[in-house]
């Protein structure tokens, strides 16, 4: 079998794919922003002393992490309307993606917070710092240094999971490539290009995360 690669076709579809890439990036960034905030709330809720809350959150996180993302996307989009919740593909997709990754990020945050030595909490108490200042000024900066590598992994992870949004019709990169393929009966070029575009985004992102981690550690004085 010959590899039938057509450069003219590849070039012709590239602008359309690059336009869809914007949507992919947007989906990843919005999803990640939701996951970062929600994940932090989940991580803090697990530290709260409200009886029962800790257990409920733990089970929720376990549940979300143990079921497929695609199922969660379908669930929010197709089951929602039965309860009177009609969401556009984008909104449903962002909720599902954000919720899914918030559970993973909450574990990263939790590990980061747990890695801060107990003596740091005790020093905060001995200095009579408020709970708010203890977290914001002392614990979070140190926890962040531990959490950044894991957070970076999930940033790349969420980017690579955005194609799943195509199943509910979010017009991101995968969706566009699939449409091009079925219109022209050619799948080699669009899917190859999609792969290359993901590669060109993922690799620098991972590198940037490593750079950021180093700069953060130096900035915090944890490393010289």
């Amino acid at each position: 079998m010959m590899l039938d690669w057509r450069w003219d076709f590849a070039l012709a579809i590239l602008p359309r794919l690059l336009a869809a890439t914007i949507s992919t990036l947007l989906a990843a960034l919005i999803g990640y922003a939701i996951a970062m905030v929600l994940g932090l709330l989940l991580a803090l809720a697990q530290r709260a002393t409200i009886p029962g809350l800790q257990r409920v959150i733990r089970e929720l996180v376990e549940f979300v992490r143990s079921t497929p993302l695609v199922l969660q996307i379908f669930f929010v989009f197709y089951v929602g309307p039965q309860f009177g919740i009609n969401l556009s593909p984008w909104v449903a997709g962002m909720i599902a993606l954000g919720l899914h990754y918030s559970c993973y990020l909450s574990e990263v945050y939790r590990a980061g917070i747990d890695a801060v030595p107990r003596g740091q909490w005790e020093a905060c108490k001995a200095l009579n710092l408020s709970v708010r200042r203890t977290y914001l000024g002392i614990i979070f900066p140190q926890a962040l240094a531990t959490a950044v590598p894991g957070m970076g992994n999930y940033l790349v992870g969420i980017l690579k999971d955005t194609p799943m949004l195509s199943v509910i019709g979010v017009a991101e990169l995968m969706h566009a490539a699939n449409a091009i393929g079925s219109q022209n009966y050619r799948y080699l070029e669009p899917f190859t290009l999609v792969g290359l575009i993901f590669l060109f985004i993922s690799l620098p992102t991972a590198g940037l995360v490593r750079l950021f981690e180093r700069r953060l550690r130096v900035g915090l004085g944890l490393q010289t």
């Binding site: 005790e122 009579n128 710092l129 408020s130």
Partner: protein, 270 residues
Amino acid sequence: MTGVAYPLELEPTDRPMVRFMNVSKSYGDLKVIKHLDFDVAEGEMVSIIGPSGSGKTTVLRTLMTLETINEGVIYVDGKPLSHMPRNGVLVPADERHQRRIRSSIGMCFQQFNLFPHMTAIQNCMEGPVQVLGLSRQEARERSEELLTMVGMIDKRDQHPSRLSGGQQQRVAIARALAMRPKVMLFDEVTSALDPEVIGEVTGVIRKLVAEHNLTMIMVTHQMGFARDISDRVCFFYGGSIEEQAAPQALFGNPQRDRTRQFLSAVKEAV
């Protein structure tokens, strides 16, 4: 709280800086402090010695509210710390009450516990700015003064990772003093240090004793140091005070067998 009457506040005529009244503390089945009665007068320097597991560190930790007590009441400057008055009786203190009372207590730890992402002077300024509400300028002046006192002013802009253990501990002492506490607690502050730098930390504490009228409680394994600077030495055994006296009396002429055994065992080790 049965059988013993705990006053809502100590009488002005009988008001030590710190009073442990019938205090017990256990971890599960293990009782680490047993019905402890322990007073420290204003301006007094008290050393606590004793074998490991005798509850000596726990005494400091309960006073810093790092541990809650199971029985009895702790008073600081006449006011209850572990409890608070409500409708004429003492109930376990809430966080707000503890925060108010413990503002008069400062503590230095065996492992220093400086904030690693802050420089020496930032460590010292943190409490005054965030808790006492001082301006950054006032906090900086106060911190510089204290860093000078502990001999660390030329390292003021270094992060803890660039400082030796002895230097970190001296910054930690300055950081605690910046809060102007009435009571300072030293929890084995030289135990994690290399022998050759212990002197720089004990030197700072000597200076504090000589120049300030601070109330201090120190848990230590440095018997010579405790003997030199203490007004009183308490020998802890099994969660309570086995024997206490002026240092010359306790080290020179211990009355109890356990004290004698402990002191001779410590002497062997040196």
